[in-house]
């Protein structure tokens, strides 16, 4: 067996013989025969990974944009381009994938007209059975709350209590959150995260309540019309109480330009009725999680500014309206979507445990964050729930339940 170990050089002669032996018609073959050979380090391929790319990523690679793997030690890794987040999984195949650096394809081999067989040594870099598969997903922002909660802003007076080491600036946050930078930036505003002195701070629920009620109180105090909210005036009135950056974020989160303008051309604003009402509902529910429907609606009505009319449909994602058969009353039960588990299966399990049958309207706010570009709410429901018709209304229930 010793001769086998010696480096074997394939000769054209050998190739010819084999062709004959294989009963191939040599004239049918192109001239170039690639002699495949393992590289001397073909067994050391652990440092080489195959990463599947979609067109967006391919483009990014081609343009030299940097891609990043993100995740802490124990998290499953995401791949981020500048503005997209991808879920990364290792796929294993039973086929062996031979990575061949300088392989010629058929088009490249059939050019010359010579009859002489040309041998070309081609090295196989290694054999692979796994590759990374990517699929676009939503940025994983749930962590944002947890990360920032310990350093949440609770008013100027409480600043001294905040541990300086728990404060996050942008660089630190980027390391932590599995999202592309563009997506993270976008998320900061929607999550009401405020840049205070270069640190990114979330607002505590109490502070948000406090600040928002101060802002809303101005409406009555100044007898503003609904769509004639003066931002500058509001700010100047509240400057003492609410820091500038916080006010800016809060105001823009709840108010939008109404289209009207002041005399000086500055635009006037109106508060988003739904957003405000929803938030007030949260405040109410935080105080008492279970309420009778009528009592709750009344309290809610009182709590909101006079110009606003709360609707129970806005409670989606915050609370459930259920009929308590025992007490024979309609009840509103606090059920915030944010508290639900992240995993799809666990989420549905939890949902159906809470309530057996859901209409699509009811369930949407609770599963909306699970949707991706590929699967919408309906897709999720088709896959994870079972639909049934009752009195002409389509209900979704657990797939495995009886």
């Amino acid at each position: 067996m010793a001769d086998v170990k010696e480096k074997y050089r394939r000769t054209a002669d050998d190739v010819q013989k084999v062709i004959t032996l294989s009963k191939l018609d040599e004239t049918e073959l192109t001239e170039i025969t690639q002699v495949l050979q393992f590289s001397p380090e073909s067994d050391q391929t652990s440092h080489i990974k195959l990463l599947e790319l979609d067109s967006h990523l391919l483009q990014a690679v081609k343009e030299g944009d940097s891609l990043t793997f993100r995740g802490s030690e124990e998290e499953s890794v995401v791949l981020c381009s500048r503005n997209r987040t991808y879920d990364l999984q290792e796929a294993e195949t039973s086929n062996s994938l031979l990575l061949v650096p300088d392989c010629k394809f058929s088009k490249e081999t059939g050019s010359s007209a010579g009859t002489c067989r040309i041998l070309q040594e081609t090295t196989v870099k290694g054999v692979f059975y796994t590759y990374f598969e990517v699929s676009q997903c939503r940025p994983r922002l749930n962590k944002l709350h947890k990360v920032l909660a310990s350093s949440a802003f609770n008013g100027k007076e409480c600043e001294s209590l905040v541990d300086q080491t728990t404060l996050y600036n942008w660089e630190k946050l980027v390391q932590e959150i599995q999202a592309s930078e563009d997506e993270l930036r976008e998320a900061l505003s929607s999550y009401l995260i405020v840049n205070i002195n270069g640190y990114l701070r979330s607002l505590t629920f109490e502070y948000e309540t406090h600040a928002l009620s101060l802002m809303l109180d101005l409406i009555d105090e100044n007898s503003w019309e609904m769509d004639e909210i003066d931002k500058e005036m509001s700010f100047s009135l509240l400057e003492e109480l609410i820091p500038d950056s916080v006010f800016q974020v809060l105001f823009h989160a709840y108010a939008e330009p109404s289209g009207k303008t002041k005399e000086n051309g500055e635009s006037l604003f109106r508060y988003n009725e739904e957003k405000v009402c929803k938030f007030l509902a949260k405040v109410l529910l935080a105080a008492s999680p279970v309420n009778k429907y009528d009592e709750f609606m009344e309290a809610w009505k009182i709590g909101t500014p006079d110009c606003m009319e709360p609707k129970d449909s806005w409670l989606g994602g915050i609370a459930l309206i259920v009929f308590n058969t025992r007490k024979n009353v309609k009840e509103i039960i606090s059920y915030p979507a944010a508290d639900l588990p992240d995993g799809i299966n666990q989420r549905f399990e939890e949902l159906f445990k809470t309530k057996e049958k859901w209409t699509i309207e009811e369930i949407t706010p609770y599963i909306f964050d699970l949707t991706t570009t590929k699967t919408n709410v309906n897709g999720l429901l088709t896959k994870y729930a079972r639909s049934s018709m009752s009195n002409g209304i389509k209900y979704y229930s657990s797939k495995h339940c009886k």
């Binding site: 032996l21 440092h47 790319l53 990043t68 993100r70 994938l97 031979l98 081999t109 059939g110 980027v174």
Partner: protein, 123 residues
């Protein structure tokens, strides 16, 4: 934790993948390093033919829907110097470099045909 994937140089190499339904194994349980595998021919119609040992395999050329990037892991120490893999520790930084893009592969899926070597001579 962020691990960056950098691009090496301006243009990307294009490599190929040969996908075999089956495994290449050594008869003598030796390492495959540096071993001769077989001959890869193309017919004039573009069908790749691979002869491995006593087997002849017919395949086809496929363009990949999702191309592969070939990433190579590189460890850097604090001074941004490339270090050997074995030297890596907590202070080293890992980065990946895109070595090549694979857009096409040769797939050999059908059952290989044996080459009968010792056909008795015709008398």
């Amino acid at each position: 934790m962020i691990i960056r994937i950098k691009k090496d140089g301006e243009d990307t190499n294009e490599w190929a993948i040969i996908e075999l339904q089956g495994d290449l194994e050594s008869r003598t349980n030796q390492s495959l390093n540096d071993q001769f595998i077989g001959d890869l021919h193309y017919t004039k119609t573009g069908t790749p033919i691979l002869i491995v040992g006593h087997h002849i395999l017919y395949g086809k050329e496929v363009s990949l829907d999702k191309p592969f990037a070939v990433l190579e892991k590189i460890h850097y120490n604090e001074n941004d110097q490339v270090v050997d893999k074995s030297m890596s520790d907590s202070r080293t930084r890992t980065e990946y470099t895109v070595r090549a893009i694979v857009k096409k592969k040769l797939v050999f899926r059908v059952r290989p045909k044996p080459i009968i070597a010792n056909v008795p001579k015709m008398v």
